[in-house]
Amino acid sequence: MNSTPIAPTLSDRFWRLANPKIFMGWSSKLLPWIAAAALASLCSGLIWGYFFTSDDMRQGSTVKIIYLHVPAALMAINGYLLMFVGALVWLIRRQHVSVLAAKAAAPVGMVMTLIALATGAIWGQPMWGTYWVWDPRLTSFLILFLFYVGYIALWAAIEDEDTAADLTSVLAIVGAVFAMLSRYAVLFWNQGLHQGTTVTMADGAKQENISDAFFQPLLLSMAGFGLLFLTLLLIGTRTEVRARRLKVLQARERIE
């Protein structure tokens, strides 16, 4: 066979992005832009939501908690989804960056879960007259929080990096299956106070959905939270990559 170079396919090019060196390159260029976009959409979404929308007829000004509560809850779930995907990619393709991204996503997702739970409790007190009820949604979030804590604890407990990456990935995948199961189990267990999904893109149940006046700033702050998550994720992953490089350097120094 002649040594004619094979043209890289699209998928090759895609996976090359996960090469640590190339990842550090494009993420450092992209990071300021994403961070700026996150800041801009968060500020505008929250300021619009808090100061330039009217109070709700029944809920008064407490309705404004929605601008923190819904995006945080959304990111809490997407964070776990991202961990699941990162774990799968690591187990199948052994891409170090993907498992480091999963590792970096865990604390961010955990804090998002906490924000959703805390704002939910603060919102629940005036609306339902109680901070906490054992409602399906609330309970699933508490369980999701436990999953995050377990994942982080397992990372911290195992010394060897690759072993830790493998074991936490197995846990993330099994955990994802059980998280779905718990989600439906708690529905069976208790009918709750929490309202159903009212933020959908579909036109179908228009009357059930929240009105546009609240929806537009909400959409903006949802995008803001998404970008914020991405920013923190990139920073976290870059830190992990650097920590790995540092360890390698230290090990090399000890040998020499």
């Binding site: 377990g150 604890a153 072993t163």
Partner: protein
């Protein structure tokens, strides 16, 4: 595989194996509940299904780190890994031995202890049945958790942290079945889902656990 299964049962029944420990722990939990909540029989009957399920779950948790722990320390597990038996089968043998020595006795003891909590006879039968169907999932999930935390020193707390969220669906459906039976309502659905969880765990977790064992023995 059968040899390994019998060996594990033998080891755990002998003294220091923790066979009686789970049962005694279960008895202690059930005895302490009335002291904490008051001796009113009707109130106890209401909480009995939940308490008995929770007690069985916690008792099951006690002996989890023994499933692989001792074999990992003295090198038996390394020998098993090099034997022709796949680690998935090792996991199944150990999980079923764990179930036979904790889940089964706990299920049989639960209706008897239910008498202490004013649980009536018919509900007691459902309790026994739901535990029989549900505890295999507890052993399987627990053995999976044990294979994850194998290399961690003093991994007991970590093991419970990892395993408890995975126990939630089984606990919900198990206790729900008994509660529904206590109110003379339909409880079939809960029992069916409970057994579905056990069967699903038996179908999926051997592979996850085999992978985890292989990683830990690397």
């Amino acid at each position: 595989m059968i040899q390994l299964f019998l060996r594990d049962i033998g080891l755990s029944v002998r003294s220091g194996g923790g066979f009686g420990l789970a049962l005694i722990f279960f008895l202690i939990v059930v005895t302490l509940i009335p002291f904490a909540l008051g001796p009113d029989p009707s109130a106890l009957a209401v909480i009995a299904p939940g308490v008995l399920w929770l007690g069985a779950l916690l008792a099951c948790l006690l002996s989890l780190d023994r499933i692989f722990g001792l074999d990992f320390e003295d090198g038996t597990l390394d020998l098993l890994a090099t034997s022709p038996l796949p680690l998935e089968s090792v996991y199944m043998a150990k999980a079923s031995a764990h179930w036979l020595t904790t889940g089964l006795p706990l299920s049989l003891a639960a209706p008897v202890l239910g008498v202490l909590l004013n649980l009536d006879y018919e509900t007691g039968k459902i309790l026994c049945l739901s535990l029989l169907l549900g505890t295999p999932a507890l052993s399987l999930i627990g053995a999976f958790g044990a294979s994850l935390t194998l290399g961690v020193k003093r991994g007991g707390l970590l093991l419970s942290l990892l395993v408890l969220p995975l126990y939630v669906p089984s606990l919900i459906f198990g206790a729900q079945a008994v509660r529904l039976a206590g109110q003379a309502l339909e409880y079939d659905v809960a029992l069916v889902i409970l057994s579905a969880i056990s069967l699903g765990a038996a179908a999926i977790l051997p592979f996850a656990s085999g992978a985890a064992l292989r990683i830990n023995l690397r």
